[in-house]
Amino acid sequence: MDQSEQNVVAPAQLPKPAALQDTPKDAGFASTGSPIFDAKGISIYYGSFRAVTDVSLTIYENEITAFIGPSGCGKTTVLRTLNRLNDLIPEARVEGEVDYRGVSLYGAGVSPIAVRRRIGMVFQKPNPFPKSIYDNVAYGPRINGIRNKGKLDEIVERSLHQAALWDEVKNRLNKSGLGLSGGQAQRLCIARTLAVEPDVVLMDEPASALDPIATGKIEDLMHEIKSQYTIVIVTPNMQQANRVSDRNAFYSVPVNPESDTRTGTLVEYGPTQQIFEDPQDPRTQAYVTGRMG
């Protein structure tokens, strides 16, 4: 534990020299935060199948970075490598470098448990535990060893406030988390993720199962919490990417005509405004203008 804390915290004091950043894509965009993730040439395999190849990007602190692209292009796969959740799939394998605050995520001695305590995740389908609302939110703090009832009460209330759910559930904290509506359940999952005070929140299409009103609430809360967290969101919805994000990564999935396999790849990465208004790559332009699915 001690070692990993040091590893993670110390290099954060050393922001990457501006000269090394992807300057052409960042042109005209004032970067405020220091780099959180720095991926260099990553490829992800499931067994012998190469799902994603050649992804290099830098994700910055206190920004919302959106991954967009057609289905099957590997956005979610890349997202799940950022907190080593793909480790749960026995055949999954990552090649290349992913640095988190200067520490190699896949380096020797890195514990996926320690990684996931700092890098939380909200999933596509709301997946509250079959426990009470209170126990859902208190789950993370409890596994971090917090037993004090007063402390837990405080964390639960703060997290539910952050997730804009407190007023709706404050009188039924001991009721099942499964009794909530889809939008409420997803905000409960967000509260559960925020309760461990992660450094980064990964969101895998968090609003794709929700109606526009619930979606709006989730987007509002993303803006609310942005100042405290770094957010990476996968979204199938370009309007959403445009509304919420500071930077956009567009993925595409070219078909290899020889082997008839599809391997996703990062096409273009840059500030949201530039991706939507002045895309450099014709494929990005075709996608954001709706000429290609």
């Binding site: 907190n83 959740l85 749960l88 026995p90 448990i113 320690a114 990684v115 996931r116 305590r117 700092r118 939380g120 995740m121 999933f123 389908k125 997946n127 509250p128 535990f129 079959p130 426990k131 009470s132 789950y139 993370g140 596994i143 971090n144 099942s176 988390g177 499964l178 009794g179 999952c189 559960r192 993720t193 461990v196």
Partner: protein, 296 residues
């Protein structure tokens, strides 16, 4: 045809035979349901009709078990009730924790590994072993060396329960959706923590009711006990040493007698055993309901 002329659209059933097929199938299903209920109803009716008169507090708790020639109403089946509860309880104490741990290993840890496959295969094979063979097995490896005892009977019953508990628990663990596991992992939980705090609580209702059903089944087993506990007429409070007795074996020995007293005691024992199984089923239902109060 007249309807067709009156209206532009015809929304009637396209083929009349579809409706008829539905009716025939519905009737067949009801008949199957009744056919299944008939034997169950007869068994319950007969056992209650012939056993209820034998049962009183003296019968359930008193003793000793009288010789076969003694008429009904003297002595009691207390030693057998005691033996059944203690032997089945011991067997459950051995088989249920081991079975649940085995299922956790097979489903959560073993994955597609060789050991998990072997455990799964062996428990399937064990399920198919006739109960009398389990009795012979314990007889040859335990009774021949250490003598008859309630413990030996419990070993035999545990061998019968173990594969059932493993497989039913495994099925329950399989039903726990992976997104729940992922949610827990994403909060930085270790594998053991995920298993203990998310997977087991989500599956525990089904696991407990599966285990209780296995216990209820084992409580009625006769053949494996014949070889392992022998029989006694007075309560043997020490299950670890000396012969013992159980309701199931008492049914066997008493029902095969020509004496009316013995037959009455057999019917009474049968009803007692059914009642014990019934109580376990109800407990299983209550436990399941209690553990799943957050699941909907």
């Amino acid at each position: 045809m007249a309807a067709m002329e009156q209206s532009a659209v015809d929304l009637r059933e396209p083929a009349g035979w579809r409706r008829r097929k539905n009716q025939v199938t519905t009737v067949l299903m009801w008949l199957s349901f009744v056919a299944v209920l008939i034997p169950l109803g007869f068994v319950l009716f007969t056992v209650i009709a012939k056993g209820a008169s034998a049962i009183n507090w003296q019968f359930l708790t008193g003793g000793p078990i009288p010789p076969n020639v003694v008429p009904a109403g003297i002595g009691g089946m207390g030693p057998a009730v005691y033996g059944t509860l203690v032997i089945t309880g011991l067997a459950a104490a051995m088989a249920v924790p081991l079975g649940i741990l085995g299922a956790i290993y097979v489903n959560e840890y073993g994955g597609r590994g060789a050991l998990a496959r072997v455990v799964r295969f062996m428990s399937d094979v064990m399920t198919g072993v006739p109960s009398i063979i389990m009795g012979l097995f314990i007889f040859s490896i335990w009774v021949l060396h250490f003598g008859y005892s309630g413990l030996a009977g419990a070993f035999a019953l545990a061998c019968l329960m173990l594969p059932v508990v493993i497989r039913s628990s495994e099925e329950m663990l399989k039903l726990v959706p992976d997104p729940l596991r992922e949610a827990s992992y994403a909060l930085g939980a270790t594998k053991s923590r995920v298993t203990m705090t998310v997977v087991l609580p989500a599956a525990i209702g089904g696991i407990v009711s599966g285990a209780l059903l296995a216990i209820a089944r084992a409580a009625g087993e006769t053949a494996p006990l014949l070889f392992t506990i022998l029989t006694v007429t007075a309560t043997n409070t020490n299950p670890f040493s000396g012969a013992n007795t159980a309701l199931s074996t008492q049914i066997f020995t008493n029902a095969t007698q020509p004496y009316l007293g013995a037959q009455s005691r057999a019917w009474g024992s049968a009803l007692t055993l059914i009642a014990i199984a019934f109580i376990l089923m109800i407990v299983a239902r209550i436990v399941t309901a209690r553990f799943t109060r957050y699941s909907s």
